[in-house]
Amino acid sequence: MIRLVNLHKTYRMGDIAVHALKGVSLEVEAGEFVAIMGPSGSGKSTLMNILGCLDRPSEGSYMLDGREVAGLDDDQLAEIRNRKIGFVFQTFNLIPRRPALRQVMLPLLYNPEASDLESKARAALERVGLGDRLDHKPNELSGGQQQRVAIARALISDPVIILGDEPTGNLDSRNSEEIIAMFQDLHAEGKTVVIVTHEEEIARHAQRIIRFRDGHIVSDEPVRDRLYARELLASMPAEEDQ
């Protein structure tokens, strides 16, 4: 699904060149659930931006779903973000004052081939358990609910890969578990999922953890004692969710 070969990324800050990625090679198979870890400045965010086609590598090759995307222009990258990638952010990144239904619809508005926008958006919201919150605006939703709206938005175009950039970073432990459970559900349905996190707990929900330091991969190992969010949630004391 994802194949990176000798990927470099260099930022210029005035006269100083910052090497954020120094020759990263990596493969993620279709249907895998991968967590990327590392301290800040290790290059994991840069990698995430490149994987999400928000940024281009300075050097190297990035094959996504059988297509080389390293040399594409802005419009082509926008189309790939629109059709193939579902992005979930730490800060939810919903547009203020828009009801949930219209948040979720957003990617389809940029896809001229899309149809039945409203019914698709409704289905996506029902899938994340917010079928009764269609008209709620972000400020009327809890953090966990906002993140679920964001997940619904990421799912609506039926992308080949879901990317989570610290998706639980702004949530309490119960809401984190809810969200990560949703990622595990998506994975179970066959989606390829890649998340960035600095929490070991969260990372252990994935199948595989890749650790970064100074722009290099320092380890790439399968998770032995994998956590299952649904089980954890069942054992957690019930608390008011909304």
């Binding site: 940024d55 629109n82 990144n93 919903l94 547009i95 990617p107």
Partner: protein, 408 residues
């Protein structure tokens, strides 16, 4: 993103900052309204001017004495004395295309009635003058050819003069004094309205031209000869006939300049139209400056909006908006503001013009709103929206998606 979605997003954005949007639109509203009102005033002035020129007479040619020239200094029309009463008679007799001739003299003088007096223009004319220059007599009569031939001391006065001298009293049959000479008032002309701006055709005293020249002012020359062509088509021919005749009568050598000037009514209409057009353009030009300022207001607020919504732009880009989608969205928002403002401005401008026409109609402030001026100013508002919306939209579309997403 399709147009409907863009427009609905634009209205959402504006609704979120109602006061701000309203104030921004106010700039455009004032601009558009000002342009429409100024064009209406200009057009109204033009129409009034045209009506006044028509009042001067029908198919009228005006023959003036030529200009004096001292070195490079040109005197005004009539500053050279060359036209005589005989010239006028000759034109009437020998120019087949001319129907009637009305020579005139014009001098300022004080007119007295009992203990009242007024300063006005004393115009010496012939009996044909009312026909040639579209005057009607309201009270009494105009003087006759016999009055003129025998240089009688009779006068026809304008309604304003009548009011100044006589108040409510009927002037007909009363005696007025001009430069110490007593005149019998035989008639009062009908109200014509001010013509030409600097001459009040209702504040004049007409006396026989013979009386004016010989008895009152001692003149040899007439100021002007009005000649009425037999038809509109014959005006050019009449013009040529008069030129040939006067050159012969004044013994002007081949190739030498005329010592008279002929003004054609059509020419005057053209000149006045040109003047009115310049006046209108000037007014509209000044008004359009305020529309430009309104445009700058739009640009300002759009730049603020782009900054405030940097994160939204990042989100849109992350879910697949292309740069041109973002640019389009902000351009539409600027356009929605300028067009909404333009629409309201049209209504305000039309209302304003109507009110100006109502209030000022009696004092010469006619207004006339044309469909063209409405369309023009509305399109101008649209152009302003695109022009001033373009830069902020461009700024929005050139943001880096990663930076935009991180923007706090």
């Amino acid at each position: 993103m399709n147009l409907r979605e863009s427009i609905s997003v634009a209205f959402e954005g504006l609704a979120a900052n109602k006061m701000r949007a309203a104030l921004t639109m106010l700039g455009v509203i004032i601009g558009v309204a000002a342009v429409i009102a100024m064009l209406a005033i200009g057009q109204g002035a033009r129409e009034r001017m045209m009506a006044q020129i028509q009042q001067m007479g029908t198919n009228l040619l005006m023959v003036f004495s030529g200009q004096t020239r001292r070195g490079a200094v040109m005197g005004g029309f009539g500053s050279m004395e060359s036209l005589t009463l005989d010239d006028a008679e000759a034109i009437a007799e020998k120019c087949p295309s001319v129907a009637k001739v009305a020579p005139e003299t014009r001098n300022g003088a004080q007119v007295k009635y009992k203990n009242r007096n007024t300063s006005t223009n004393i115009i010496g004319v012939t009996a044909d003058y009312p026909d040639v220059r579209n005057y009607r007599v309201q009270n009494g009569r105009f003087f006759t050819e016999r009055d003129v031939r025998s240089s009688r001391k009779v006068a026809v006065i304008g309604p304003t003069t009548a009011a100044n001298l006589f108040g409510e009293v009927s002037p007909v049959g009363k005696t007025i004094t001009i430069k110490g000479i007593r005149f019998e008032v035989v008639g009062v002309t009908a109200v014509k309205g001010a013509t030409g701006g600097f001459m009040d055709s209702d504040d004049q005293v007409f006396i026989p031209i013979s009386t004016a020249m010989r008895r009152v002012f001692g003149l040899q020359y007439v100021r002007m000869i009005g000649a009425q062509a037999k038809s509109l088509e014959l005006m050019d021919r009449a013009n040529n006939e008069i030129t040939d005749l006067l050159r012969k009568r004044h013994h002007i050598a081949e190739g030498a300049d005329d010592d008279f000037v002929i003004r054609n009514q059509a020419e005057i209409i053209e000149m006045a139209g040109e003047t009115a057009r310049i006046f209108t353009i000037l007014l509209a030009g000044i008004a359009s400056v305020s529309l430009l300022v309104g445009g700058i207001g739009i640009m300002n607020i759009m730049l603020v909006s782009v900054t405030e919504r940097t994160r939204e732009i990042g989100i849109r880009m992350a879910v697949g908006a292309r740069r041109r989608d973002i640019q389009w969205q902000f351009l539409v928002e600027a356009l929605v503001m300028s067009l909404t403002g333009g629409l309201i401005g049209v209504l305000v401008g039309v209302a304003e013009s109507w009110i100006i026409g109502k209030i000022g109609g009696n004092s010469g402030w006619n207004t006339s709103v044309s469909a063209g001026s409405v369309i023009l100013s509305f399109c101008f508002a649209a152009v302003v929206g695109v022009f001033f919306g373009f830069y902020p939209a461009r700024t929005a579309s050139s943001l880096d998606p990663i930076e935009a997403l991180r923007y706090e």
